[in-house]
Symmetry: D2
Subunit: 372 residues, 4 copies
């Protein structure tokens, strides 16, 4: 099957997540990158395009121009990946959706709730699809966990615990650290740890449990002098069924690299998973020996198998999980002749609302904010 | 050196912690158990005494009688271990302190703050000492951690995380489960998870960081229908320096046995420790490979060495940590001819105040309670 | 940079390793798969080609025809991946090398020493390159280990321990298990565990230590009734410097999936690595706390960085390591205008000689066989 | 129940294992140490006795005198612990057995086979018992493993793997290291790593599998210049059923403290255990998720429960396992009015024969030595 044609906005020289999206798009052969506006600086945009191997006539310095030009081509792109700083996600996505080109957007969806609501409307109006890359949901053991929870393997959910701990912002970053720079600029990022990694933890909780929270209470803190955004966030979430979730996202927890963990405790059993060794899922039933379920190994279920590429014991990692989202996006794009309802936009809006609610709660002495 | 003479109140047939105290008292040969009031039921008291190998004339059914009789003997006990349900700790301890007999008391000190304050006064007035067995502080790697923090190895403390997770109360316990029964009776225990294990986590935080908290906010919850006490507790603690601690104590976290963990994050480094594999301490400095410090191995410090019995790689466990407290109690009793200031009573009072503050906060929508 | 053009022989429907090679070839965008002889059965070959997205005119049922046809095209393939059963590697590789097309061959190089020697000559005579995919050498932490050993971080090497444990052949396989079938047919595989996974362990030892062994003693055993090849192999290797290596490869070690581990002990320190969690390397210096070096994290060296795609804590896995070999092959193919000396063929010959020596040793009561 | 009266030979100031035996004897209250010949140097013997708290009239400088004097007392010792260098075990044990005093002897039983055979005869002739402290067999999870193997949980045993890795002799020890000194003196130890720790691994294999080996092939090596004994030993053991065991004992494996591990692979399942975290036993059945059985937790069996003191998750360690052997010795001494057949002596003889066979095999180019 011939690959779909993909464009990219952002992700030029010096960027991190652009390269990740390119590898993820390539891994399963579902997409071929053929166009890009890799930077708003024309020289850098074209240099990046040349390096990546994009034809000169499909290298753009302006995303609006790119959206129009690609829409006008008979061999124009089927989808565009957006990998810019957060505050540009909305305008760029809307520009492509307006041309009925599908959008695969890095998280969070936007930097503000207003942008997210506007984007949601744009997605609903477009013949293109909107996909948000909450990449951790692509891990097979996360899929396994979701199926087990939905099948009732844990009984009634009581407690959910999601931590995302990093340490790379434990000190004020060097001046030339581009990644750190835009992430710690509130105008560009829309938030600090809460937006960068807290949203991942929140999305993971939503994805695995399938439950909408009723309300939240958050405490955002900043440990590094002079930093304008939070670098450590604690959130409690209340559910209608009585369950609670606790999220801790920190970028100053020395000794942690990308230590995203999830634990779900129910009345009958529990599941525990850690992103840094993602091929393993611990399952405990009350009164029995704990089991180590492995990707591809004994105890695996259909949801995990469906996104497993290689045999048990040969680790799949971050890029494979990311690639799964690209593969699933390709499947949707290919399978929906007419327009299906927008898929990732509602999730994306909820993520941005979560960040907003956390910020409001934290400024109001951690008051409980209704999420309904 | 001849062992000190020890008595015990509580810990008869069917009890758990009494046996632990007896093993801990024996391990280093510092104490010889010679008297006891092992139960308030005379038949059970004497049967237990016989089983344990206590002479009939030093088996008592009443602790007041025991305190007076032992004080009157020339070969009377030097110290008494109190291993009854929590609400009896205060009266029993006072009875022995009134006779100038030292007291080694299981935690929490008492079931109420009023009892604790009364006991503190009694301890100050007595020629005997008061010791509280916060046994996890006896682990060599906990001592190592305390020394490292006090020496500044972590820089300024930012975040402290202590979890104590169990699962043995995930369901309503069987009728004949004596342990579960008194622990879930508020009149006997003074609290549920918060008093039983939350106090351990709090004490561990205090012990390792040496910091007094300014205020706390707590949420106590009960997940099992019909239970009269909390089985899951979350506490945030604020420190004057800006640091925060978070404690999570749960008795319904399936898959956890006695999963007490401590992590301390500072501006320069972090320490992480887990009680279930207690001979290991993780130390991370920003930008360097994390190190696994082992009891008795490379990287160990004086505080750890002082309480280490056997070489690295031969695990010491719970009983050794407990025995360290007995050995240290023996050293104090032997070394202080005259009366030294009371040692464990202030800590004990703080522990009971902690439980009380948590209960008050939780009932008042997790309001912040001043601890000063 | 435009991708190189790649062909493939083998790897059609029902095969495992073909899909792995395709993903590995795609990940970094260095190769584009444009031709293939995916099966010796024409119907299956063409059906596979269609599924993979290969144009009909470049789908072949015969590898000789494919080599000639591709060599004749102006847009012919730059390299071919060989992913057939072992006994066909030699003839196919020679057919392509004869056309000066580079070869990327799955291991072991061939099923017999005679085939390997013939192939080595063919590689030397060709303008094409020969690459062998000992894929575990592509892991960043394996590269890290090699650099550390060569820099003397361990002192003089004393003991090397490499285990590769699986359990998928613990029982006689089902009739329709294609993977198990050819691997347990001596005519197709040239050996059992020794050839399938023992060669990987041996290659890893050679790669990390850079030492040629002087002699070996092997014991091959078969634990499943009726099996015609070994399923468990133990090999001792003697080195000129006095060091010894021990290799244990087993396909009947229940509870192990692809548990390949390497430990190197020297006079000053040691390294330990495990493939199932490959982003971590343990480094111990005598008398110091052991360190956990992570891919991309503190303590990493240049060799590891050179093959690292994403930040620390976001796990790279098996496919990334495999893809690194493809990327390195692409670099060689692109950079060598004229013919460089053959690269992987000598290693490949040594691997086949290793299998042969193990089989001879084992049949001769584990006699020591000279490898020089 | 009043404790039994215990004496000790060896274990004075500066010794290691003597203190271990004293703690183990005390932990469960089964023994009271009342007499000792703690050194062959009278001044040191008496100083040690005073420090330990032994009455002056029961402190001896000569073990023969001690045996006779204690036998003559109406309150004489019931048993003696022997914790001297290996070459003295035999003569001392025989002196006490000759007085019908039971002997609890550190391993290995003796330094030579001739001594062991003599001691076996002496044990059979005595009214006292002979116990050998293969202390690792006291771990609850080792007992669990033995029961599971004997019940057939693994099917037919195929492969047994026991490693005992240390690093404390990686360099020539300091002159004043008493422990290292006698252990590396062949006259006192009877062997190096093979006798000191290889015997433990061998005994563990025998204990868990219950199988007598038919023959062995051993390779003993010395990595440190000038050392007179082996510091690294590899042994293969053949069983009548076709199974093989492999033992690796090393004292130069940097990064290992007392890393004793056991794995038993059968046709249906496997068990894996590691002494440094001894409260966990991994159990894998073919095709199922691996289970983590914990001491006191779900999946535990009767053999483990019988030697478990405290609840799951509160780690028991090395001293508890050691104490279990003392408790079991006390039970035997108390329960056998008349003389039961000797218990530990046959095991002890087999251990010494194992060391002797390994040494002979190694000197004869690793020839297979019959053990029957």
């Amino acid at each position: 099957m011939a690959p779909l044609k993909l464009g990219m906005v952002g992700g030029g020289q010096g960027a991190f997540i652009g390269g990740v999206h390119r590898m993820a798009a390539r891994l399963d052969g579902c997409f071929e990158l053929v166009a890009g506006a890799f930077s708003s600086d024309p020289a850098r945009a074209h240099a990046s395009a040349a390096e990546i191997g994009i034809d000169g006539d499909r290298s753009y310095a302006d995303f609006t121009e790119m959206a129009q030009a690609e829409a006008a081509r008979t061999d124009g792109i089927d989808a565009v990946s957006i990998v810019t700083p957060n505050h540009l996600h909305g305008p760029i996505a809307e520009a492509f959706l307006a041309q009925d080109i599908s959008v695969i957007c890095d998280k969070p969806m936007t930097a503000t709730v207003a942008q997210a609501e506007s984007l949601l409307s744009a997605a609903e109006a477009s013949k293109g699809h909107f996909f948000l890359t909450h990449n951790y949901t692509g891990y097979p053991m996360v899929r396994q966990a979701r199926q087990m929870v939905s099948e009732g393997a844990l009984g009634n959910i009581r407690i959910i615990e999601a931590n995302y701990l990093q340490d790379w912002l434990s000190e004020a970053p060097a001046e030339d650290n581009k990644q750190a720079k835009w992430r710690t600029d509130p105008a560009q990022s829309g938030g600090g740890a809460i937006g960068d990694i807290g949203t991942h933890a929140y999305n993971l909780v939503c994805f695995v449990t399938g439950k909408p929270a009723v309300s939240l209470s958050a405490t955002l803190r900043t440990h590094v002098d002079g930093r304008m955004v939070d670098d450590d966030a604690r959130i409690a979430l209340q559910y209608a069924c009585g369950a609670r979730a606790h999220i801790w996202a920190s970028q100053v927890a020395i000794g942690n690299e990308n230590n995203l963990t999830l634990a779900v405790y129910g009345s009958k059993g529990s599941l525990r998973w850690a992103q840094e060794n993602p091929n393993v899922l611990w399952f405990s039933e009350l009164g029995k020996a704990s089991q180590q379920i492995t990707r591809g190994g004994g105890g695996g279920n259909e949801a995990a198998s469906a996104v497993t590429r290689i045999p048990a014991g040969h680790p799949e990692g971050y890029l494979e999980a990311f690639a799964t989202l690209y593969r699933e996006a390709a499947d949707v794009i290919r399978s929906t002749g007419g327009k299906s309802p927008s898929i990732g936009a509602q999730d994306g809006l909820e993520g941005v609302r979560f960040v907003d609610a956390c910020q409001r709660s934290s400024m109001d002495t951690s008051a409980w904010i209704d999420l309904r």
